[in-house]
């Protein structure tokens, strides 16, 4: 990579705080808190990239309403839509170009203020062929799950272990929305949403926002002793039509390949110490282990059976509780990056993993993961 990019500060607001305020006020608070952490003034910030979505916010041109609240008044500030990881990628590219040496990246969604997940994700589908069938987030995920389970003999119990792990981890994350001690049996007994996906296999629908301060290498060294470095990133999109896609070998492998190539990572399972994976449905975490190269094809179930991805495992995944625990839709991708950065800064408090030198953050959106991004961070 050309110019190095650092993360010097991370700020997030929890679901309770987000429930009681509007998008504009929350945006002001999260960006102001972020700058206060490093003693920066609004005037010191070079550029800002936010991420929100008009559908997921119920306001057209969704950044218009919070533009000045974010501190962007008369600044070169843009908006990427649908995935907070996009804001990070774009913000990083702005720094890499050498045009700016500081950039706030921000994402927000208030799930409590908009129509349900099914309605909004059905609108992802093209209006002629796929939408009338009723394809939505959970129904497409269920088709993907069936394919995955049938092809590789992945079991519902193995998927349930992801829920147990992540909602358990979330007990140690004050910003998580849904948390608790659940058993595999609890998951299996929860009501079916779209077979084989049960209610506890599904992410909740949350309010949340977060912001990161990115800087150039020179600035980072002046601002903190403990910067987190961007080592690599990759992102990729799959076909729109569901039948055109290989649901078990899609865009994620390509996104990961690009990220690993830029980061110079050859053996992901050995070189990555912690991963924050975007898993709106439990079985997807297993599938994504494979596609991220943590284990071989069809081995996602065994990988969790061995306990590799628990807090004490060799590659802890989602110490924050992941998306199953907290799903402010557009912000969830940026939250994965924020959590990965906190791990590297040693600031993840009760859900800190020891000795983290390299962390991976993954994000996805679209039906059954049409779009994926992977970000590699290091010390």
């Amino acid at each position: 990579m050309t110019n190095r990019v650092a993360i010097v500060a991370v700020e997030q607001l929890g679901p309770e705080e987000c429930a009681n305020d509007n998008v504009r006020d929350l945006t002001f608070r999260v960006s102001k808190n972020l700058l206060n952490q490093v003693g920066l003034k609004r005037e010191d910030v070079g550029t800002i990239v936010s991420s929100s979505s008009d559908f997921w916010q119920g306001i057209s041109c969704s950044n218009s309403v919070y533009y000045d609240a974010l501190g962007a008044y008369l600044k070169n500030s843009s908006k990427t839509e649908e995935d907070g990881a996009f804001a990070f990628i774009y913000g990083a590219m702005r720094i890499m170009s050498g045009h700016y040496d500081t950039c706030i990246v921000h994402a927000i969604t208030k799930g409590s203020e908009i129509p349900g997940l099914s309605t909004l994700t059905n609108l992802y589908a093209d209006p002629f062929f796929q939408r009338p069938i009723g394809l939505d987030d959970v129904s497409t995920a269920a088709l993907q799950a069936m394919l995955y389970m049938n092809k590789y003999k992945i079991t519902e119990e193995q998927a349930a272990k992801v829920v147990v792990k992540n909602l358990g981890n979330a007990l140690d994350n004050p910003y998580a929305h849904k948390k608790g001690k659940f058993s595999v049996e609890d998951v299996l007994k929860s009501r079916t949403m779209a077979y084989p996906i049960k209610e506890l296999d599904c992410a909740t629908y949350s309010d949340g926002t977060c912001a990161l301060l990115l800087t150039s290498e020179e600035k980072a060294k002046k601002m903190t002793k403990n910067p987190v470095w961007l080592r690599g990133m990759g992102w990729c999109v799959d076909h729109q039509f569901f039948g055109d896609r290989d649901l078990l070998d899609g865009a994620l492998r390509k996104a990961a390949r690009m990220a690993y190539a830029t980061a110079g990572i050859k053996s992901p399972s050995k070189e990555i110490n912690v991963a924050e994976i975007c898993e709106p449905y439990s079985f997807q975490e297993l599938l994504y282990y494979e596609q991220l190269g943590f284990c071989g094809e069809g081995e996602g179930g065994k990988f969790i059976d061995k306990g590799n991805t628990t807090m004490k495992g060799k590659l802890p995944v989602n110490p924050s509780g992941g998306v199953l625990a907290h799903n402010p839709y557009v912000a969830r991708g940026l939250l994965r990056i924020a959590e990965a950065a906190l791990q590297l800064m040693g600031k993840a408090e009760k859900h800190q993993v020891d000795g983290v030198k390299t962390a991976l953050a993954h994000s996805t959106h679209g039906l059954a993961g049409q779009h994926h991004s992977v970000v590699i961070l290091g010390k």
């Binding site: 218009s64 533009y67 609108l123 209006p127 990759g234 990729c236």
Partner: protein, 388 residues
Amino acid sequence: MARRAAIIGVGQTKHGRREDVNYVELIYEAVKAAIADAGISPDDIEAVAQGSMPSPMEGVNANHLYWADAMTAFGKPLLRTATCGSVGMSIAHLATYHITSGMFDMVLAVGAQKMFEGDPQGTMATVADPWFQRWFIAGAPGVFSMQAHQYMYRYNLPEERVREAAARISVNHHDNAMDNPYAHLRFKVTMEDVMKSRIIAYPTRLMDVCPSSDGACAVIFASEEKAKKMGRKVAWVKGMNYAGDEHFFGDSDKVVWEAAIVAAKKAYQQAGITNPRKELDVAEVYNPFTYQELIFYECFGFCDFGKACELVEDGVVLRGGELPCDPSGGVLCTNPIGATGLLRVAEAALQVTGRAGDRQIAGAKTALAHAMGGACQFNGIMIVGSEL
């Protein structure tokens, strides 16, 4: 010094009421044209930058996912931006940063809109915040008419004089569109036609307002290394900036409009332009409303504040003038909003590479492209030139 970027190919659809195609087909028409124009293969495109108006207007959530295949994005990195009317410029900026970051060497930028399929004014009414402004700031014409009033009042200009200058802009741009085979509205209008057309929101009349169009635009950006290998003229990105001001309409001055002034000023600095009127050869100003174009002339430093009418009266910004604006006919004659800002960039690139056909401004070397969006909130600029 940051890495440089150039525009190596542009494509646009025939704009208008395009009931013959759906979104995907419309977009592919522009993408295919851009790829052919650049003389490359779809496989040469390494990444795609996409954008559109608020997605309720397209009726598809996260429409980059729907458009992915039409943009030849399958298996490639794809990012989406959305900044209302200014989105076309935001797409161009996004694509440029892909190059200047050093991550990519060839990137496709795509914007599109089928305004006849959605409810544009209904969607735009929801740009205003839901608590205070939405009740009275609904849709575009009301906002921009208020701005026109503010302008006349600020400088104590006789209404008849401003009316006439705005009408002259309309006549000029409609004449220009006759030379643009892609333009939506291709008919001549007279001063009388404009001034007697029906009121939309006083003082704005029908012929002061852009149409609703279906259309798409695709632009291919490349690194310096790749661009130089093209073996033909390319348009270099010389400067770009973007700025927005307060969300609440009453909080900012829309006459001495800081977002427009700042956006232009920093872009000029990057491009080394100190006297825009002299150094720019042509400008594609985003002009959905004739009155607003007068304000932009001033904010972009084409003349002093309060003097835009003179610029029109003296013909400086008209055809054959010192700084002709919108030789393509501009937004006033073609407005598929999600593509409109990108069309300004494409037209500017065509001008500086001498490929603008009948609408070519002879000898154009440096051009300004502009887009505006939000509830009269955002402005983006890109300066392109024939020399690096």
